[in-house]
């Protein structure tokens, strides 16, 4: 063994190198305040290691980026942990950078002859921010996509060269496959490679000029090994423990919270995500920009941040003046306090915005839905976005909010959870066609309420009069009959939610169908039901609430099968091309509760 080491040492000189590395002098003894550089290096190594592992499973294209990250996060062994470490270590790096910078400035470690050391450090800081910006987009989820679009647009607003720079970085006029391949090349190749080179220079310069001891030096010098190494190791372990804690901490508050880094819904260029925000450590810039509207924007996005960075670069030279060090300390303090204040304002503003809260909530819901659908069905070649675009549960509420909620409600809201300012002027469609919904419309106390006919011209019509006068006087036997009629009509819809009841109550339903026609119940006077009636004046109840019935109704409620000339304001969405056939079926399936639901968790394949 010794001969082998001798041979190696003879060829490489590793013993001397190790000795130099380990027995660097630490003037004044080891100290906790010297650990920041080591923890930063450690965090960077974590990023390189976990990033390399992630590269084994990541696929950069608009049809596979979200999909492969979904697969890492939810299907691959330990993927959530790996991705969680990569995500939170990136945040730890930002914090550690700030601490390292503070320690260097406070201790005056940037002064001559260590100017270059300081400058390489600041360049690396900017590169780490670049890593963060590029990494944010790679999962190709809604928040990364829209936040990156903002950054790209800001870059594009730079005079003269902006548009060209933007086009080169995103690989075209708009975000696409090449945005991802380019961001990945920058994120996993260019920047880490340059940082490695600069770390070598940075550490070489650090060793050349030695550590800047905290004054006054009270204790004897020691060697780097083992005293300072031990402190560094403990600090690195603490950083790691914090990262691991952040990965699992959501579970402390809710037992089924997702572990690790968040993955939003797949990026959808047609679906503005109004809760798009940059990572928390860029929030101060985001907030800063708000104070520079219109043609002043460039000041907030480029000029002032560049001037401040310029001052930071000049710190070693400013530090040479008599009051230079105090100026630098003041500058750093001002930047930190300013950033903290702006970050607070950004959060405070969002907290008071109901639209932001709602958008965040919807984003979580649609992210969960995308994952559920991917698990349930596998992802088609066209990508995960297709799953959401063809999903009634995702699209139904949006179509409803856009096209129906100006008159209708769904469980009191507009489908998406917001309450429109105008009062409802048509029925609430939650549970449309169900036993409960029909029982409500036949209830004298409810029929003219705003969630049924209250807002329509039918509130003074025959049906309301019938319910309020005749049904109100029904005796127990008649009420029993009416209940069977309700069962029969609601069975027409064939709702998933009532499948159990419909197959159980076949006798009562048969009875209800017969009772519908008897003159005492009066239904058949106006309505047609399961047999042709030329004189019918009210909507045909054959197949009431079924998929076909509802699609036809939404397409053309003024058709003589439905309201005919009596139709009250409802547009013929299909006939007038206000909604496409696809949108009408998605809306119908959503109202009817027809969407893919998760199998029991046990049967979901790992």
């Amino acid at each position: 063994m010794k001969t082998l080491f001798d041979w190696l040492d003879n060829r490489t000189g590793f013993r001397k190198l190790t000795r130099e590395a380990l027995y660097e002098n630490v003037p004044g003894g080891s100290r906790w305040r010297y650990v920041w550089g080591s923890t930063l290096t450690f965090a960077f190594v974590i990023q390189v290691v976990t990033g390399l592992f992630l590269l084994f499973a990541y696929s950069p294209s608009t049809k596979t980026a979200w999909e492969s990250v979904y697969y890492i996060q939810h299907e691959m062994t330990g993927g959530w942990l790996l991705r969680g470490i990569h995500h939170f270590a990136s945040q730890a790096m930002i914090v550690l950078l700030a601490l390292h910078l503070m320690q260097v400035v406070i201790d005056g470690a940037y002064k001559a002859p260590r100017e270059l050391n300081f400058l390489t450090g600041i360049v690396m800081l900017l590169m780490v921010l670049g890593l963060s910006l590029t990494g944010y987009l790679l999962p190709w989820d809604q928040k990364g996509y829209w936040a990156s679009k903002v950054v790209a647009s800001l870059a594009g607003a730079t005079p003269v060269v902006g548009a060209a720079i933007q086009k080169v970085i995103i690989g075209g006029s708009d975000f696409g496959h090449h945005t991802l391949t380019r961001f990945l090349a920058i994120h996993a190749g260019v920047l880490p490679g340059m940082i490695v080179l600069l770390i070598v220079v940075h550490i070489y310069l650090f060793r050349r000029h030695g550590l800047t001891p905290r004054q006054p030096v009270r204790r004897p010098d020691v060697a780097f090994w083992p005293d300072q190494v031990l402190k560094d190791s403990v600090a690195c372990l603490a950083v790691l423990a914090t990262i691991l804690f952040l990965i699992v901490s959501p579970r402390l508050f809710s037992p089924d919270a997702p572990l690790g880094a968040e993955l939003g819904a797949p990026a959808d260029p047609s679906e503005q995500y109004s809760a798009a925000r940059p990572e928390w450590y860029f929030l101060f810039l985001f907030q800063f920009l708000k104070y520079f509207p219109g043609d002043k924007e460039l000041w907030g996005s480029v000029i002032i941040p560049s001037l401040v960075m310029g001052l930071v670069f000049l710190m070693p030279f400013i530090g040479k003046w008599k009051l230079g060090h105090r100026f630098n300390m003041g500058l750093l303090l001002a930047i930190l306090i300013g950033a903290a204040g702006l970050t607070y304002l950004a959060y405070a503003e969002d907290r008071q915005k109901p639209e932001f809260q709602l958008a965040t909530k919807q984003a979580h819901a649609s992210a969960e839905r995308a994952v559920a659908l991917a698990r349930l069905r596998g992802i088609p070649e066209s990508g995960a976005l297709t799953l959401l675009r063809e999903d009634p549960l995702t699209q139904g509420p949006k179509i409803f909010a856009r096209s129906c909620a100006s008159c209708h409600r769904y469980d009191g809201h507009d489908g998406m959870g917001a309450t429109p300012s105008d009062a409802a002027s048509a029925a609430d469609l939650k549970g449309f066609g169900s036993h409960e919904w029909l029982a409500g419309i036949l209830d004298p106390g409810h029929v003219a309420a705003s969630n049924y006919f209250g807002g329509t011209k039918f509130k003074d019509g025959k049906m309301v009069r019938f319910v309020k006068k005749d049904i109100a006087r029904f005796d127990a036997r008649q009420k029993e009959h009416l209940n069977k009629v309700v069962m029969a009509v609601s069975a027409e819809a064939g709702l998933k939610s009532q499948a159990g009841a419909d197959s159980r109550d076949t006798t009562a339903i048969e009875e209800g169908r017969r009772l519908f026609a008897i003159s005492e119940m009066r239904c058949a006077e106006c309505h047609q039901f399961r047999k042709k009636d030329e004189d019918a004046t009210a909507p045909d109840l054959t197949g009431f609430g079924s998929r076909e019935w509802l699609i036809s109704f939404i397409s053309d409620p003024a058709h003589e099968r439905f309201y005919g000339k009596r139709n009250d304001r409802m547009p013929s969405f299909g006939k007038e091309h206000q909604l496409t056939p696809r949108e009408i079926s998605l809306l119908t399936d959503w109202i009817r509760g027809e969407w893919a639901t998760a199998e029991p968790v046990a049967s979901v394949k790992r």
Partner: protein, 182 residues
């Protein structure tokens, strides 16, 4: 390196420091690596499930003289996150035998997985990569063949007197025995 003189057992103290530094640093370095290895080895835990039998063709389409014909097998397939319906998952040679029976051979060469060609002049199967030669029934046609075994036969069934159903499966190449690919 010198410890203050008032410290008891300076050697033990120093050793403790060194050991702690190595252990703690080692743990810190091991965790990110440890988190990645399971993902790297993830494929080992996944099985290539042999699909159910698929209806490939009707027996009337196969030449009566026993000349083999090649057919692509379409089936639903999962590739990591993607699911494909009716995607090509491989190909078979089907050959009509005496008595209304059919022979099915996987077209992959058991040597290195190249697709084997049918040489009509010699009525043999010839692999274009390393010249492995097979008889029509799939057995080896050379004394020393690059291929360690004959072509892989597949389960085949003629249903309703005419429908040819094949249970398609891939086998591990490069071994003398036919083993299902895990």
């Amino acid at each position: 390196m010198d410890s203050p003189p008032d410290t008891p057992n300076p050697d033990r103290r120093e050793f403790f420091k060194k050991a702690s530094a190595v252990v703690l640093g080692g743990i810190a370095a091991a965790v990110p690596i440890g988190a990645g290895v399971p993902l790297l080895l993830d494929p080992l835990g996944r099985r290539d499930t042999a699909g159910a039998a698929v209806h490939v063709v009707n027996i009337d389409s196969l030449p009566v003289d026993g000349t083999p014909r090649k057919f692509t097998i379409l089936a639903s397939r999962k590739d990591a996150w993607n699911r494909y319906d009716d995607a090509p998952i491989g190909a078979v040679y089907l050959r009509r035998l005496e008595g209304g029976k059919v022979q099915a051979l996987n077209v992959s060469c058991p040597h290195a997985g190249c697709f084997v060609d049918y040489a009509s002049a010699s009525r043999t199967f010839l692999c274009p990569c390393h010249n492995s030669l097979f008889h029509l029934d799939g057995t080896l046609a050379q004394k020393s063949s690059p291929s360690p075994r004959g072509m892989d036969s597949l389960e085949v069934e003629v249903r309703k007197g005419s429908e040819v159903w094949v249970k398609f499966q891939n086998f591990q190449a490069g071994h003398a025995t036919k083993m299902a690919r895990a």
